[in-house]
Amino acid sequence: MKVLRILAAKSGQIVTIRPEQTIREATALLVKHNIGALVVVAEGEEKPLGIVSERDIIRQIAADEACFSDPVETIMTGHVITGTPQDDLYSVAHTMTERRFRHLPIMDEGRLVGIISIGDVLKAQRDAYRGEIDTREVQLQAGEY
């Protein structure tokens, strides 16, 4: 199963933010779209400069309650691990779990085409398992195996 399987039903929409935009704006975007992370890209660019998650925002609030006007580039995670639509979902899930990140921006031929969350991955795996079990049950009932 590939990452593409998740991306296909996401219409290519990713919510991005520019590095100079504020934490206040980031918070509003997370709430508006009901998501957990934003990809930080410079105006007119494709390559992610970083990623800012709700966890990054929470950490900053705990350190400094007056942070809302600060630019997101001060709290974003800089070195972003990206994937491709052809990546194996199981391998990617393993990496996300081991290295404890919950969002993976996806690049395709230099363009940012989507972002998947660990929740998306778990749901895809669950649905794949259900499907395989269902199919094997039909075969078993018909006496194939």
């Binding site: 590939k2 399987r5 039903a9 219409s11 691990i81 052809q86 990546d87 990617v92 039909v138 009932q141």
Partner: protein, 470 residues
């Protein structure tokens, strides 16, 4: 006008595509007791069931019993089947908007992906999807010709479809005669001179997409032995590590079966050989002076690990040439666009968000249009995988229904839709027509000790039903 879904104003749904996903969608809509639903299912071919009829291999009869479930759905009084009606041409999406509250596209994936290498257009180079449709009697493919007079064949890809092609090429005529394979294919394969079939995988055994029962089955054929070069059956260090870390028992078992094929082949009377190759990619199809495929140039690959943790292949400078008189590329199915529905062509799917079709300009859902199955998320997974997928789309549809976001058809009456179809395609096939054809096919099969003998030509079907051709 009250919200649709009541007895006086039933929810009228058009499902485009009569494969597994279409039927799973219908089943789940009917199961929801909150709403009165009426469903019309449109299908381009005269017969329903999609890849269950035209994709599943003829010697894999038992999974086809899933059609019993579809049949139960089709027998419901609130269900109608309009076969041999193509949406986008015979009837447009705008026509459907005038007659239904909601429309789901479950048209699947019919066409193949290209290798994009030199020589791909040579005679003898084919798409596995075409070969599969041909031997399964798909009316659009019955006139395909495959030159089986060569000794060596190659199948590029290591998914279950690739295994199907390898297996069908390696079965004896006696083995095939017991199946529902198309008669003309049985005849052609009876005269096949193919005795050696290569199956070529880009990555290693641990990454092969075929499943364990299918690869095991290759070792159980009447007249074929399977062999994997030992150095290609051995896992590379990255794959070893990945397998150990993930404790993935299913893949470990699959690798064990593959490795069991790298033993010395003992003396055998079997006349056919299946050779599994890993970590090789075709880079050129080489032809003779008549433009006919003769050989394939392969490059050897090594695996590397990406940041995201996937093991990807990368070409080394080691090359090899193998003989091959015929080649079938089996690197995936891809979807075909429907006129009037936004399409994401690089991924071969309808542009959608969780099953709601999206307007490419506004990025907002298009009212009343939905999608499920392979045309929604890409061509991967087994038949059953479409069931939870359909469930997700149905959930979005019912949420939208509750929120009053449906189409407002000018004429939602069942009579109106039927009149439209009858006017545009008088030779349309009803479900009763299918049942009659099914009966005839099974009866013809009984006479020959086979599950069925398929109709492969629409005119034959029309004649059998005593309908006048248009």
């Amino acid at each position: 006008m009250s919200k649709p879904g009541t007895e006086e104003n039933p929810l009228r749904v058009a499902i485009v595509g009569a494969g597994p996903t279409g039927f799973y969608s219908a089943e789940q809509l009917f199961k929801d007791r909150r709403y009165h639903v009426q469903i019309d299912m449109y299908e381009r071919l005269p017969t329903p069931f999609g890849l269950v009829r035209y994709g599943v291999a003829p010697d894999h009869q038992k999974i086809k019993s899933v059609t019993k479930l579809f049949d139960r759905v089709a027998q419901r009084p609130e269900f109608r089947f309009f076969g041999y009606v193509e949406i986008g041409t015979d009837v447009t999406v705008d026509d459907l908007r005038r007659h239904y509250h909601q429309i789901i596209f479950t048209t699947g994936a019919q066409t193949d992906r290209n290798l994009n290498i030199p020589g791909e257009e040579l005679k003898g180079s084919y798409a596995a999807t075409d070969f599969v449709a041909w031997y399964n009697g798909h009316p659009d493919f019955r006139d395909c010709e495959f030159d089986l007079s060569v000794e060596t064949a190659s199948v590029i890809g290591v998914g279950n479809v690739a295994v199907d092609v390898v297996r069908i090429l390696s079965r004896t005529p006696e083995e095939l005669a017991r199946t529902d394979i198309a008669d003309y294919a049985l005849e052609a394969l009876r005269h096949s001179k193919i005795r050696e079939v290569y199956m070529l995988g880009r990555r290693g055994p641990a990454q092969a997409a075929f499943t364990t029962p299918e690869i095991k089955e290759l070792g159980e054929l009447d007249d074929a032995v399977v062999w994997v070069p030992p150095e290609e059956a051995t896992l590379d260090p990255l794959s070893e590590e990945s397998l150990a870390e993930s404790a993935d028992r299913a893949t470990a078992r699959k690798v064990e079966v593959i490795q069991s094929y790298s033993q010395e082949i003992p003396e055998t009377t079997k006349t056919r050989r299946i050779i599994l190759r890993f970590l090789v990619s075709p880079v050129e199809f080489i032809g003779d002076e008549h433009g006919h495929l003769q050989q394939i140039r392969l490059v050897h690959n090594e695996l590397y690990k990406t940041d995201a943790g996937t093991l990807r292949p990368r070409a080394t400078d080691r090359e090899e040439i193998i003989p091959s008189g015929i080649a079938f590329r089996s690197i995936g199915y891809t979807g075909v666009p429907i006129y009037g529905v936004p399409f994401q062509s690089s991924w071969g799917v309808i542009l959608n968000q969780d099953g709601r079709v999206i307007d490419p300009d506004t990025q907002e859902p298009l009212t009343g249009l939905y999608t499920a199955g392979w045309i929604k998320r890409g061509a991967s997974g087994v038949i059953g995988t479409n069931k939870p997928d359909a469930a997700e789309t149905i959930e979005a549809m019912l949420d939208d229904l509750e929120a009053g976001r449906t189409l407002e058809p000018d004429d939602p009456s069942p009579e109106g839709a039927e009149a439209l179809v009858a006017a545009r395609k008088p030779t349309y096939f009803s479900y009763t027509d299918w049942q009659r054809l099914d009966e005839i096919e099974v009866k013809r099969g009984e006479e020959q000790g086979r599950p069925r003998v398929k109709f492969t030509d629409v005119h034959e079907m029309l004649e059998a039903l005593e309908k006048e051709a248009a």
